[in-house]
């Protein structure tokens, strides 16, 4: 990467933020006017949602397992091993489920979007689309935005559920806890505020994954090397954004509901 002067660097960053904002604004505005490409929305839902199920289930399940395993030893010191279900459920629903699912989907789909749209960009398919009278933001970005936000919401619920199930498996088979007690403890720990917090986060994460992935894809330059660079940047930037926004949403939710 060539060195640039500070003023050029700042100008490039400001221009990138401006371009990202314009693309995102257009993608959102497209929701409120036709034409809508529902076929593309369902195709993306299948690709992003159904296609990501295996990694989300595996990640969520084993996160629940390891959470139960690690927390049990600490809880045992305080004679509170029966609270394992409480800790696993609370952690999965409020934090680990949304964040880990967001990161996994980011790794799988932000990269996919950036590489697919980037390849289209460098082979002039995006220009061809415009030349054929189609708005690429409407045809390519908005369907991915709708599909990611919608499907990430449900993937997070799946991740939460299998995480709690994984914790149950470890608690019952390895830690020797009672299954009924585990699930009762898990159920009691879940509050309206906690569930709301856990379900609001994937909406933001989905928005970040789709818009960042599409932005890097649509602004790809420099042939196949550029596609590789765009793909890497999309994953890195969307992952960092997800973590940062997770903190901000958590803080906002605590502000709204209190630290329940």
């Amino acid at each position: 990467m060539p060195f640039v002067t500070p003023d050029v660097f700042v100008k490039e960053r400001v221009a990138a933020v401006q371009e990202y904002s314009l693309l995102t604004g257009r993608a959102v505005a497209n929701l409120f006017s036709g034409p809508h490409y529902w076929d593309d929305v369902f195709t993306q839902m299948d690709s992003i949602g159904v296609g990501s199920m295996p990694i989300v289930i595996l990640t969520g399940f084993f996160t629940g397992c390891v959470l139960a395993l690690q927390s049990a030893s600490s809880l045992e010191e305080f004679g509170a091993i029966s609270m394992t279900g409480n800790l696993v459920a609370l952690s999965m629903v409020k934090e680990l489920g949304p964040v880990l699912t967001g990161l996994m989907i980011s790794g799988r789909n932000a990269s996919g979007m950036a590489s697919e749209l980037g390849s289209m960009k460098v082979t002039e398919q995006i220009d061809a689309m415009r030349a054929l009278g189609t708005d690429p933001s409407r045809k390519l970005v908005t369907p991915r935005l709708i599909a990611t936000v919608f499907m990430l919401f449900f993937l997070t619920i799946v991740s939460d559920a299998v995480g709690i199930a994984g914790g149950a498996l470890v608690s019952v088979t390895i830690l020797g806890l009672n299954a009924s007690s585990y699930f009762h403890s898990s159920y009691r720990s879940l509050t309206y505020a906690g569930i709301t917090q856990g379900l609001v986060k994937p909406l933001f994460s989905g928005f970040i994954i789709a818009t960042v992935g599409c932005y890097y894809g649509m602004t790809t330059k420099g042939g196949t090397q550029g596609v590789g660079r765009a793909t890497t940047q999309a994953v890195v930037v969307s992952s960092v954004f997800i973590i940062v926004v997770d903190f901000l949403v958590s803080r906002a939710m605590i502000g709204i509901f209190g630290s329940q």
């Binding site: 398919q125 220009d127 689309m129 030349a131 054929l132 009278g133 708005d135």
Partner: protein
């Protein structure tokens, strides 16, 4: 192609007609980063004219083509297409204008995920043309480029020449009033190039569509100027008595500037030293 007629925007008689240029560039300049790519480009393309744009690689030919279609905006100057200044139009208005423009891209730019039929019918599907009618038009358009047997294939299954022909079929399916060919013979072997040039000549002589064509192959450019399409034989043939097609004109670019703008005869008789060397 006579039955192909897509809904197109209404034309304004005051802005279009005989004697009024279809494309007019005036003082157009564009710079990428700090490098000027085109400087003070001015020329016009009249109705029915085929304008061949020649020049060495990297002189800004493809950029010029994208500017004419509103895909890029110049830093200075005006570009008028069908009487509309595309430099001042909103993108949404440009989409309507582009319904009258067909474009063949340098590397074909076919959509990888769509079959040949869906690629060619792309614009028809966007305009919600019924499936039966769209299919009939696709078959007709593919017949024009003699590729109807490839209708169910995907772009990855086609050779470079076949992809170029599908790209031409996609460009002409809506019977456009202006066709932009961006290096349609680039990277092809001489025989395939001749096939593509024959299609361009056929489109020119059958439909009399105004067109801009970029090439860096002088042989292709002069074939266009010296040949005509014979509907009886279905093939291209030399114009008798060393004739030259009057509707084919040339624009030569060098280092982002226009170095020649005129007819075939003026080009071959030019005394410009760089041009003489380039043509030799």
């Amino acid at each position: 192609m006579a039955s192909i007629a897509l809904d197109k925007p209404q034309t304004d008689p005051a802005m279009e007609g005989p004697g009024i240029p279809v494309v007019a560039l005036k003082g157009v300049s564009i710079t990428f980063e700090i490098k000027p790519v085109l400087e003070d480009i001015s020329f016009t393309v009249m109705p029915g004219e085929t304008r061949v744009i020649l020049g060495p690689a990297g002189c800004g030919k493809s950029v010029l083509m994208k500017l004419a279609n509103g895909l890029l905006r110049p830093d200075t100057g005006s570009i008028t297409v069908f009487g509309h200044d595309v430099t001042k139009m909103r993108e949404t208005d440009l989409y309507k204008l582009r319904a009258r423009i067909g474009m063949v891209f340098q590397e074909s730019a076919l959509f990888d995920s769509l079959s040949v039929e869906d690629n060619v019918a792309y614009r028809l599907h966007e305009d919600r043309v019924p499936d039966d009618e769209a299919h009939a038009r696709v078959v007709e358009s593919l017949k024009f480029v003699e590729l109807e047997q490839a209708i169910a294939k995907f772009p990855s299954e086609l050779s470079g020449g076949m992809r170029r022909r599908v790209s031409i079929a996609r460009a002409i399916i809506s019977k456009p009033d202006l066709i932009l060919y961006d290096s349609p013979t680039g990277g092809l072997d001489p025989i395939t190039s001749t096939t593509i040039v024959e299609l361009v000549v056929k489109q020119r002589d059958v439909s009399h569509t105004t067109s801009l064509l970029i090439t860096h192959r002088l042989q292709d450019a002069f074939t266009l100027a010296t040949h005509r399409f014979d509907p009886k034989t279905g093939h291209m043939e030399p114009i008798p008595d060393n004739g030259i097609d009057p509707s084919t004109k040339f624009l030569v670019l060098h280092e982002g500037k226009v170095v020649f703008d005129g007819t075939t005869e003026e080009l071959v008789h030019s005394e410009d030293p760089w041009l003489k060397e380039y043509l030799s």
